[in-house]
C-alpha cells in the first residue's frame, strides 16, 4: 500500500470524525429537512417542468403551504381561542385549580361522573377519588411550568430556532437537489460509480415514495374518519379522526388504536350503547376503504413485515423514545430493511460479495 495514500485516508477519516462531532447537534434537523424535501420534491419538479426556475418553484410551493396553514389557522383558531379564554378566565378568577374544581369543567365532569358510576357498581374500585388525586398532582406540576419555562428559556429558544431552520435547510436541499446528487456521486471511483448510482436512485425512490404515501394515507384516513365519526354523531370527530390518521402509520395495530379512541370517547360521553357500535362500524368502513383503495393505490402493496416484528418494533420504539418513536419506528425499520436488501442484491450483482 502506498504510504502517502494511507496517510491521506487516515487524515480524511479524522476530518470526517471531527466534522461529525462538530455537526452532531444538527443531524436530526438534517433528517427532518430531508423528509420535508422528499415530500415536496414532486411539486417542485412539476413547476420546474413548466419552465419555472427551480428556486422559484421551491418558493412557490412554500407559499402554497403557508397559505394552507394560514387558512387552517383562520378556520380553527377562533375555537381554540374560545377554549383558551375559558382556561384563562379560570386562572384570572384566582381560584386554586384543585382537583375538585377541575372536575367541574364540562368534559372532565363527564369522565368523573362515569367513574363515579363505575365506583357505585363495583365496590372497592374507588376510581373517582383516584382521579381527583391525579388531578391534584398534575396541578402542582403545572404550577411549576412557568418557573420551568423561565429557567430553560435559552434551551427553548435554541430548540425553536433549530425548528425554524428546517424549512431553510429544506429549501437548499430542494433547490440544489441535482448539484448535491452530482457532488455525492463524484466522490465514488469509476469502479463503483454505477453501484453507487443504483443505491442512490433506489434510496431516492423507496424513501421518497414511502414518505409521500404515508403522508397521503395519514391525511386520507384522518379526513375519512372525521367525516364518518361526524356522520354517526361522535363528539370531537376531527380530533379523533386526526389521531386515528396518525396512529394509522403503525400497520396492523394503528387502526385498532383509532377505533378504540372513538369507542372510548362514546363511553366517556355516556351516550347510548348503540353509539359504540356505530363508532366502531364507522372506523371499520374507513379501514376497509383504506386497505382496499387508498393503500394499494398510493403504496402499491402493504408493508411486508410480519405482525410480530411490527409489534416488537412498536414496543422497542416506545421504550426508546415514547409515542413519537412508536409512530416512526415501523417506517424507519421498513426503510432500513428495504435498503439493506437493495444493497445486498446489488453487491451480489456487481460481484463484490
Amino acid at each position: 500500500m502506498n504510504w502517502t495514500k494511507l496517510l491521506f485516508y487516515i487524515l480524511l477519516i479524522i476530518l470526517l470524525v471531527m466534522g461529525a462531532f462538530f455537526y452532531r447537534w444538527i443531524f436530526a434537523n438534517l433528517v427532518y429537512a430531508m423528509v420535508f424535501s422528499y415530500i415536496l420534491d414532486p411539486f417542485v419538479s412539476w413547476f420546474e417542468r413548466r419552465r419555472v426556475p427551480r428556486w422559484l418553484s421551491v418558493v412557490g410551493v412554500y407559499l402554497v403551504i403557508l397559505g394552507f396553514f394560514t387558512w387552517v389557522t383562520a378556520r380553527f383558531v377562533p375555537d381554540l381561542i374560545r377554549q383558551g379564554n375559558y382556561l384563562f378566565d379560570l386562572f384570572k378568577s384566582g381560584q386554586h385549580l384543585s382537583g375538585q374544581y377541575i372536575v367541574t369543567i364540562p368534559f372532565i365532569n363527564g369522565v368523573y361522573e362515569f367513574m363515579q358510576n363505575l365506583d357505585t357498581q363495583i365496590p372497592g374500585l374507588a376510581l373517582a377519588p383516584k382521579m381527583i388525586e391525579i388531578l391534584d398532582n398534575a396541578n402542582s406540576t403545572l404550577a411549576g411550568i412557568p418557573k420551568l419555562l423561565m429557567d430553560n428559556y435559552q434551551n427553548i429558544l435554541s430548540t425553536l430556532s433549530l425548528i425554524a431552520t428546517i424549512p431553510l435547510l429544506s429549501f437548499f436541499m430542494l433547490k440544489d437537489k441535482y448539484k448535491l446528487r452530482k457532488a455525492a456521486l463524484e466522490l465514488s471511483s469509476n469502479r463503483y460509480f454505477e453501484l453507487c448510482f443504483i443505491l442512490l436512485r433506489k434510496f431516492d425512490t423507496n424513501v421518497g415514495t414511502f414518505l409521500r404515501a404515508i403522508l397521503f394515507e395519514v391525511i386520507a384516513v384522518g379526513f375519512m374518519a372525521s367525516i364518518a365519526l361526524g356522520i354517526v354523531g361522535v363528539r370531537n370527530p376531527v380530533l379523533i379522526g386526526a389521531t386515528a390518521g396518525v396512529a394509522n402509520i403503525i400497520p396492523y395495530f394503528g387502526p385498532f388504536m383509532g377505533g378504540a379512541l372513538a369507542v372510548l370517547t362514546v363511553l366517556i360521553n355516556g351516550g347510548p350503547l348503540i353509539m359504540i357500535v356505530y363508532a366502531a362500524l364507522a372506523m371499520y368502513i374507513v379501514q376497509v376503504i383504506d386497505n382496499n383503495l387508498v393503500y394499494p393505490l398510493v403504496v402499491g402493496g402493504t408493508i411486508s413485515m410480519h405482525p410480530l416484528l411490527v409489534l416488537l418494533t412498536v414496543i422497542a420504539g416506545g421504550w426508546y423514545g415514547g409515542i413519537l418513536w412508536m409512530l416512526i419506528s415501523v417506517p424507519m425499520v421498513y426503510i432500513t430493511y428495504s435498503l439493506v436488501k437493495v444493497l445486498y442484491i446489488n453487491l451480489k450483482d456487481f460481484r463484490i460479495i
Partner: protein, 176 residues
C-alpha cells in the same frame, strides 16, 4: 440611440446557453435550451484513464455513456467483427436501454477518456415526462439506428444480419 441601448442591454443580459455543447451528440441536436437544461440535471461527468474499464460484461446496466473525447474499445459482441472502437460524440448503451438489464459486453478506455453518463432510468423518465423532448430524442435514435442497419446491410454477404443485430446491443457507432 434607444435602439442601440436596447441592443446593448440585450447583449449584456443574454445568458450563453451553458448546455449547447450537448448538441454535438446527434440525438440531442434538436433539443431546445430548456430541454437541454432538464437533461443536464441528470448528467454526470466521468474521466477514465487509458486501459481503465468503463464496465464489465454481465454486470447490471445502469448508465449510458456519451463520449466527449478519447477512444473506447467495446469488447465482445458490439460489432460484427467482435469488437469496435467508439470515439468522440458517440455513445454506448442506448439499445440495451430498451430491453436489457445486464451488460452484454465490456468497455475499456483505449486513451484517456472524458465521458458524460446518464442513468437509463432518468433518461426514460425524462422522455416519459416531457413528451416533446421524448419524441425528438426517440426520432433521433430511430434515425441513427436506421443508418446503422443500412451500414450493416452493406457488410459482405458472409455476415449474418440477424446475428449482427443480436450482437450489437451495446454500441451504436454513428455514421459520419
Amino acid at each position: 440611440m434607444l435602439k442601440l441601448i436596447i441592443r446593448w442591454l440585450k447583449t449584456q443580459l443574454h445568458k450563453p446557453d451553458k448546455n449547447a455543447a450537448l448538441r454535438r451528440f446527434s440525438i440531442f441536436k434538436k433539443l431546445s435550451s430548456f430541454e437541454l437544461y432538464l437533461l443536464s440535471n441528470h448528467l454526470h461527468k466521468r474521466s477514465f484513464k487509458a486501459g481503465e474499464m468503463l464496465f464489465d460484461r454481465d454486470y447490471p446496466l445502469e448508465m449510458i455513456f456519451f463520449i466527449e473525447h478519447g477512444e473506447i474499445e467495446v469488447l465482445g459482441t458490439a460489432h460484427p467483427s467482435g469488437h469496435s472502437v467508439l470515439t468522440k460524440n458517440q455513445w454506448i448503451g442506448i439499445i440495451d436501454m430498451f430491453h436489457e438489464n445486464i451488460r452484454s459486453s465490456s468497455a475499456r478506455a483505449l486513451t484517456d477518456v472524458q465521458a458524460i453518463a446518464v442513468s437509463r432510468f432518468d433518461f426514460l423518465d425524462l422522455i416519459n415526462k416531457n413528451p416533446h423532448m421524448g419524441v425528438t430524442i426517440l426520432s433521433a435514435i430511430c434515425e441513427s439506428f436506421s443508418k446503422y442497419i443500412f451500414q450493416l446491410c452493406e457488410q459482405p454477404p458472409a455476415v449474418n444480419l440477424a446475428d449482427n443485430q443480436k450482437q450489437s446491443t451495446l454500441g451504436v457507432p454513428e455514421l459520419r
